[in-house]
Each structure stands twice: as C-alpha cells, then as structure tokens.
C-alpha cells in the first residue's frame, strides 16, 4: 500500500556507485591497523595464561629484561588500583590481577626493538601458577558443586539460593501463560544449546600506542569505535580522556568484536615505560581466538502452545548464557526481548540467568543474543509446524507482529516490514523448487532492534563546491558510500563531489562506535542535518549577495535560487560559486549536527534455505539460500545485499561447524582457522537476496539498520532444513557431521 510519508524519485539514493574504499583495498594501499608505523617504534608481545584458572604466584621478567633490545615489561603492578565496576573488569581483562581467569588471559607484556625479539622475550618471562579448579560449560558452571570462579559477581537481580557463578537474572512477560497453554491443542517443550562462536574478522587486533611520561598519548588502532577505545583505555590507565588522541585505521571486519578494548592499553603502558617510544602490538590469530570476544554460549528452555490451525497461544523461555569470566558480558538483555519479537502472542513469560565461566570476556557479535534466541524459538515453531503439517510461512503470517502490534518486550511497533518479508519469501521461486532425496527446506524469521546513539558529524564546503564530511563511525559495511549518497542527494550535487572521512577523536564530539547497525542510520541522519545546516548558510550568503531576505532563498539542485517570483529575478548561485568566494562573504562554510539519534526502525527478515545431507556421513551441503529483509530504504543496494549475504554466511557457519572446543583441562582446542571452521567461499552457494523497502519514518530517507538481522535466522533455518532432510532434529549447535550422523543413526535404530 502506498504511503504518503514515503518519498520516491531520488536521483542518487538507490544507485550503486563504485565503493570509495574499493581501489585502495584491492591494490593493498588501504592502511589497516598493523600497517601503521612510526620512527623509533618498538614491538610488543603478550604473555598469556596456559591455564583456564590459576593463581598467579610470581612473575619473573629478569631474563627477558636482560636481553639486549628489550625496553619494557608491564604487569598488573604497573596499572593503577582502585578501579570499580566495568572499568575494573576491563583492567582485569587487559592484564590479569591475582588470578588468570581463562586460557589466553594476558599476564604480562613486553616491548622490544623487533617483533621476533619481543616474542623471544615473552618466552623468557617466567610465570609461576597455582592451578585452580575451572568450569567452561554454561550448564556445568551453575550445577551444584561447580567451583565459584569469582566471589560476589551476583548483582541485585539474582534471587537467593542461585549458584555463586550466576551474575544476573531477568524476567518479564505479559498475559496468563498457563491459560494460554491450556487453550492450545499441542504444547511442546525442549532445551536448545548453542556453542560460543567468534566474530572471525579477517584483520586481527592491532594498534600503535605512544605515551610520554606526562601521561599524554596517541593511538592508531583498528576499531569500530575510537571514543570507546579512548574512554576505556584512559580508565584502565588512570589518565584523562582528553590526553589521549585516538585515530582509527581502515578496518578488516569487526562484527561487534571491535567495540571494546582487549590489549590496546598495553601499547600505551609499555610506551610510557619505554621512555615514550611508540609501541606496536599486533595479535596473532590464535591470540584473537583465545583472548578476544567470542559470543556467549547458551542453554535455552522453550515451551510453546499451538492450536491445530497454527495459532500460538502462549510462549515461555528460560535462557542460561555465559559470557566468559566477567559479569555483564552475556547478551541475556538482548536475547530475551528478541526471543518472540517476530510474534504477536497473547501470553509470554521470559526468564534468563547469566553465569560466568572460565572463558574469554565475551564481546558483542552481530545482533548479540538474537541468533541464540531465534535458534531456540524458531526451531520449536518449526518442529510444531511439521508436527501439525502446517506451512511455516503461513504460521508466521498468522502470528506475526505487524504495524501497531505491542512487541513481546513492551514497546508498540510503529511501521515494520515482517509480513512483507514473509510474503516475498512465500512468492519467491526458491520456496517452490521441488526437493530431491535427502534434501530439506528450512524457514525462519529474525529481528534486530537497531540503534541510534551518540552521534556528531561535521560537513565542510570546499572552495570548489565539493563537500567533505567528517564522521566518527568507522566504516565496516559501506557507510561512507551510503552517507556520501545521502549528502549528495540532499545538497543536489554529484556523488563524486562528496568525500566522507572517518576522523579521529580530536575532530568531533563523542561518537558511539559503529554498532547496533547504527552508522548509516545515525551518522547518515546527522550528516543530512549537517548538510541542511550548510545549505541554510549558503542560502544566507546568496541572499546577502542578492540583497534579499534569506527566507526568500531556497536550495535545490546544488544551488541557491530565489524562492518564487516575488523574491526577485536572480540566476541560481551554485555551491561552486558560493564556495569560491566564501572567504570574502563571511568565511568558511560548514554544517554541523550532533544528537543522540532517535527514531530507529527495527529490521525484520525471513530466510529460506535448502540443504542436502549425506545420509552416510552427516555432511550438510547448502543447496540454495534466500535472504529477504526490510532495509527501510536501501541507500546503496549493493552494500545492503552484501550485509544480507555476510550475515547469512556467518549464521550458516554458526549453524554447521563453528564452535569453541574446550578440553578437559579448560584450554581452547581449536584456536586456529584450520580447526575453527568458518565457511569458505566454496562451501556456500551465491546467496539470493530480496530487499524489502518499508521506509522508517524516523529517518529522513527511511533508513533502517541492515547489518545484524541477517545472522539471526540461519541458525534455526539450517537446523530445520536438516530436520526436513533427515528426520533428525538437532537441538544443539553446531550441526557438525558427527552430531548429524549420530542423530540419523539414532533415528534409524
């Protein structure tokens, strides 16, 4: 249905110009974190705990310091004391205090004149450990008798009597679930588990830090959010934020994992101790997997009531999630609201606990919490659809959330596109392709809130009528191109005349990271406002030149025009003309906007996947894969499709083979890409995409975030397709061949 508030007929929005970072990236010129170097720079290496849980009895660095070329060693004793709350957690994770809390936990760091020398020196730092009992599994961590790995982690929300590793408890809901279950024709209840997975970005963490004895420093770093790096590093080191200037590099992937610090303050602490010489710190892949944020592992109970016509009468979940050895890191606060976000169900009850375990401090990962919740709820919906022989899309259309629905977590949805994605999936060719032997089809929907957040943007008009836009959100998915298109559309100038730069912490007000699918939405919204601000000023300059009121001037097609016949007859004054003489008409012209961006629009998606399972080996092949998702407005459709495909690829990896494997000793068994099995290109078919555009009324061009929802449906969709192909339902990810084959053989027996 046509909407009055939806503009169409854009000149640039919806086109697909070449990506601004493309040439640099394919020629190798793009400067990533590890590419930055400075004169006199030292190289650092980190000593990490080989134990899942151990008391640090003694650290002896004398042999390392005796090596020629070793300039500094830093241990926890070099960091300030007295921190509290999350600042203390960050400091504890940067360098272990009295105890190492997971395999890979940093214990000491060393800086030397070469990377090889630093690695040699790190091997010479002798750490004496007293090994302590450990626990790594989410359910085991809260079982009676499990070692309490940190005292006093429970916050006010945890009811009396829970295990000492439980850090948080949440509950909410509405309606009478017992009455709802009583009204159902079938009530089913199962437990689902997901293993921790890593964001798997191609670029390992890397930074160069420099800090003098005066406590003033600079850092060049690969990050999704340099103000966060600044605030967190300053807190860990006990310095003022203003004394640390942080410049982001080009970024080779983040997916949420680069929204926090892991080793960055160590470069500064080492530099300060080494007389202010810059220090480069680059993680190896194994360090990335052992010691940077994977996502949480989860164990989830779900109960649903359904009538034989597919009406869902009530739902109930109890989620248990562990996010490593630090409280507050598991996404229970997101997983619960996402669990039933796609549905309009009269009675729901949500409960969750967070438990800590001897694993690395979890970080955000693409729609944190939502993929696990979807795996649990969407798998059970699929199981019940198959039992009642109902079409899974029809059941979702029957129960799906729509405009004006009160969401499962409270707020009323304004304008959303879930049903549009379901209709488009139902009508797509992929949904009707006949299936062969050992093949199955899975369907699931998914949701992400999206986010606005603190945003500051400046736009400067050039002397030649071009525009430079300064944003504070690193570009991880095409936001420079999208923001450039929106600014060019607003100013009425060619896209090629706009350059968008991600600038350092000294150049703008505080920006939150690129997280929550917010960059194109929030920085884009602020950039449009900054352009309008500049347009107002340019109209004022033209009005002054023409000797008329500024209100009598309007901006269109890249030029100031008299607003109607009464304003006078003047030829349009272009942005180039205004820019060329701005020095004599009042000085430089820029626009600026800062805001905590409101008006986010949630993005819903529906995926359809066909698999073939080898009945003799349990190996799953993805035959075809369809992503249908609401983008609001697709500013640069190629990037939107890329986000859909990337989310699906990561979700397929999570569903099929990715997992953190811990040994009985609590050590990570697979900290290399050979054994941490992300999908390779040949594992996947070309992923089909359909962009649904239900514009978000909260954005000038209708943008919704598109980056995260796409990782949510693949987990249940793939497991449901496997169930269709084999008759065996996998309720514990990953659906790795040994697990699938065992389930097939059990079903046969």
């Amino acid at each position: 249905m046509a909407r009055d508030d939806v503009k169409t007929g854009y000149k640039l929005i919806g086109t697909r110009p070449n990506r601004p970072d493309g040439l640099d990236k394919v020629t190798g010129r793009a400067r990533y974190g590890a590419d930055f170097s400075l004169p006199g720079m030292l190289h650092a290496a980190v000593v990490r705990s080989p134990h899942a849980h151990a008391r640090i009895v003694k650290i002896d660095a004398s042999k390392a310091l005796a090596l020629d070329g070793v300039k500094a060693v830093v241990t926890r004793a070099d960091l300030p004391t007295g921190l509290t709350g999350e600042d203390l957690n960050l400091q504890d994770n940067t360098l272990a205090g009295e105890r190492a809390l997971y395999d890979g936990h940093a214990v000491a760091a060393v800086a030397a004149t070469s990377a090889l020398l630093a690695q040699d020196a790190a091997r010479l730092i002798e750490v004496t450990y007293e090994v302590l009992p450990h626990v790594t599994d989410v359910d085991a961590a809260m079982a009676p008798g499990a070692p309490v790995i940190r005292e006093g982690v429970a916050d006010f929300s945890v009811p009396e009597g829970m295990h000492g590793n439980v850090a948080r408890y949440m509950e909410f809901g509405h309606g009478d679930v017992e009455a709802g279950f009583a009204a159902a024709d079938i009530v089913r209840e199962h437990t689902y588990k997901t293993e921790a997975t890593h964001q798997g970005y191609i670029e390992p963490h890397a930074c160069v830090g420099q800090m003098g004895e005066d406590g003033r420093g600079e850092m060049w770093v690969c990050t999704q959010g340099h103000w966060y790096i600044r605030r967190m590093s300053a807190a860990v080191l006990g310095i003022d934020a203003a004394n640390l200037r942080v410049t982001p590099s080009e970024i080779g992937g983040g997916f949420g994992g680069k929204t926090t610090i892991f080793m960055e303050p160590l470069s500064l602490a080492l530099s300060r101790k080494a007389g202010g010489r810059p220090v480069k710190l680059v993680m190896s892949r194994s360090e990335v997997l052992r010691a940077t944020g994977p996502t949480a592992s989860a164990s989830m109970d779900v109960k649903l009531g359904m009538k034989s016509d597919g009406t869902i009468t009530a739902g109930q979940v109890y989620f248990r999630m562990q996010g490593g050895a630090f409280p507050g890191m598991s996404p229970i606060g997101e997983a619960l609201p996402c669990a039933f976000a796609c549905y309009d169900i009269p009675a729901l009850k949500h409960e969750a606990v967070e438990v800590i375990a001897n694993r690395p401090k979890a970080a955000a990962y693409r729609a944190p919490g939502s993929p696990m919740a979807a795996f649990a709820v969407e798998s059970l919906v699929d199981e019940m659809c198959r039992e009642l022989k109902l079409d899974p899309i029809a059941v979702r259309l029957k129960n799906g959330a729509t405009n004006g629905s009160k969401s499962s977590y409270g707020p009323v949805y304004n304008v959303i596109g879930l049903k549009e994605t379901l209709e488009a999936a139902k009508d797509h060719l992929n949904y009707t392709v006949p299936l062969g032997p050992n093949q199955g089809r899975g369907v699931a929907s998914g949701f992400w809130f999206n986010h606005g957040g603190e945003t500051s943007v400046t736009l400067a008009v050039g002397e030649d009528g071009t525009a430079t836009v300064m944003i504070g959100t690193p570009d991880i998915g095409g936001s420079r191109a999208s923001i450039g298109l929106m600014v060019a559309e607003t100013l009425g100038i060619p896209y090629e005349n706009v350059r968008v730069n991600v600038v350092e912490t000294g150049a703008l007000g505080v920006n939150e990271p690129t997280h929550g699918s917010r960059a194109t939405f929030a920085s884009g919204k602020a950039a449009v406002e900054a352009a309008r601000h500049a347009m107002t000023e340019m109209c004022r300059r033209a009005a002054a030149d023409w000797g008329i009121d500024p209100e009598a001037v309007e901006w269109k097609d890249g030029a100031a025009h008299p607003a109607g016949p009464n304003a006078g007859k003047f030829p349009p004054m272009t942005i180039g003309e205004i820019g060329s003489k701005m020095g004599s008409t009042g000085g430089p012209i820029s626009g600026h906007h800062e805001v905590t961006a409101e008006g986010v629009g949630a993005s819903f998606g529906t995926h359809v996947v066909d698999v073939e399972v080898d009945p003799e080996t349990g190996r799953t092949t993805i035959l075809r894969y369809l992503v249908v998702q609401d983008a609001g407005t697709a500013i640069h459709p190629a990037y939107v499709e890329g986000q859909y495909q990337g989310g699906a690829a990561q979700g397929i990896g999570w569903a099929l083979n990715e997992e953190y494997v811990y040994g009985a000793d609590g050590r990570l068994q697979n900290p290399i890409f050979l054994d941490y099995r992300v999908p390779v290109a040949s594992d996947l078919p070309m992923i089909d995409t359909v962009i649904i555009e239900v514009p978000n009324p909260g954005h000038p061009y209708g943008v919704r975030g598109v980056g995260e929802t796409g990782i949510t449906p693949p987990l249940p969709a793939v497991a449901s397709a496997i169930a269709g192909a084999t008759g065996a339902r996998i309720r514990s990810l990953p659906c790795s061949p040994p697990k699938v084959l065992a389930a097939i053989m059990a079903a046969r027996a």
Binding site: R123, T617, R677, V680, D683, L741, A742
Partner: protein, 288 residues
Amino acid sequence: MRYHTPTSFADAAVIAAAATGTLRFLAGGTDVLVQMRAGVVQPDDLIDLKHIPGVDEIEQTPDGGWKIGIAVPGIVLGAHDALVRDWPGVVEGMNLVGSTQVQGRATLAGNLCNGSPAADSVPGLIAAGATVTVTGPNGSREVPVEQVPAGPGRTNLAKGEVVSRITLPPRGKNGGDCYLRFIPRTEMDIAVVGCAVSLRLDGDRIVEARVALGAVAPTVILSDAAAKAIIGTTLDDAALAALTKAAQAEAKPISDKRGTKEFRIEVAGVLARRAAKIAYDRAKGLTK
C-alpha cells in the same frame, strides 16, 4: 639457526648426521615455514634440499614406473597427464593438500615426512605400493612408504637420513586407484578420515587390491583384511559390505576436536566403499 644448501643428498645426509640440535629439511616448506612462524619449531639447522639437481623432475622408468623428485609440487603432479592417467588416486590425494598457493610449493615427500596421520597424499602412495629412496651417511636404501611414518610428527628415518626420491611402480593394465577424504567443509580443511584404494581387474573380477586408511590411527593403516574383502569379487554388494566391515574393524581412531571415534569408524567404512567403486570404474576405463 644455520641454513644449509647442499647440492647432493650425500652432502645433505652428512650435514644432517652432524647436526646436534633441532633439525628440519626444507622442500616446499609449507609445513616447516608455517611451524617456524608460529613458534612451534625453532630449528638449529635448516637444510634446503631444492639446490640438489633433479629434485624438481618427474621421470618415467623403462618398466613404466615413475620416479618423482622430492621438491616436485602438487600443482606440477596435477598437470602431468601421463602420471595422472596412471595414478589418479595418488595425484588427487596430493592435490587436496592446502590451497592453490600451497599447491605451488607443497610436496609428496614433505607431506610424508611431516608425519601427520591425516596427510592426504600418504594413503594413496601406500595403496599404490610406492617406495621412497632414503639416503643416509652410509648410502641409500629403498623403503615402502607405509614403513616411513612412526606416529604423529615422527618418522622411522634414522639420524642423518633423508628421503631422496619417490618411486611409483608400473601401473600396468586394468588398474585403478582413488583417494577420498572426509572434511566438514569443501576446502582448507584437514582429513577427519581418509581412504585410498588401488586395485587391478581381470575382466570384472578384482585380482589385486590394496586399501589404506588415514586419520584413524597414529599412522596410516594398510589393511590386508579390507583388501581381502574385495579380492576375487566383482565388487558386488556383498563385497562392498565386507569391505565396509573390514575397514571399520581396522580403524582405531580417537575422539578429538575434528571428530568422534564412532564417527571416524563409521565413515572409514563409507569412504572405503566409495573409493573402491571409483577405483573399480577407473580400472574398467569407465571414468578418469
């Protein structure tokens, strides 16, 4: 670290025999260099064998066998039409090692001497009845490939010994071989189970067979029982069932991050069956 570039295997053996610390030979380097970079191995002596004449050559012997230099990379084997026609299973095993870039360097000898029970080229060599020439300070000897591995990361070569050549026997008429491995992905992975079958037919009947199983024991298994299960048969359903059972009985795997014991046993039978069928069709000239 001392880096040596001998120009004969005799010289290489002398250097190796004199080495007192950690020693590594360098052919393609796709294992050694990676291990050095990862800090897994820090050799005191590194002997580069690529300066020895002939190490990059493939040569057919008068009897129809093949002599393969120890530095011939996988990609060259794969491009050698006559070798591929004779021993497709040997070549397809080697060509599964690593990526295209790795194929440009990785060698049969390196894959064998790295000592991995999951090495993709080793079951094919063993099924083919390949031998290696081992050169030591006191001369050379010929060793069947199955006698080289001693366990994960270890070989039976004595101090100072180095593999100096690989020899494949004459293929002869009505023969076929095949190597299959199981990995969860399509590429860039390590065999969870591997199996090679080489056989010869007289008419429709199998008269010779060798079956090798990889990644199901500390070393690749050459299974007499599995071979006997199909010799004398036309690879009918009963023979395939017997082969499956024999291969499964022979497998002695462990459970680890790459797969469970039960899974590996089950799949060893599946791969043996599938590899035998392909080798049979190749022997019949039905497929390449």
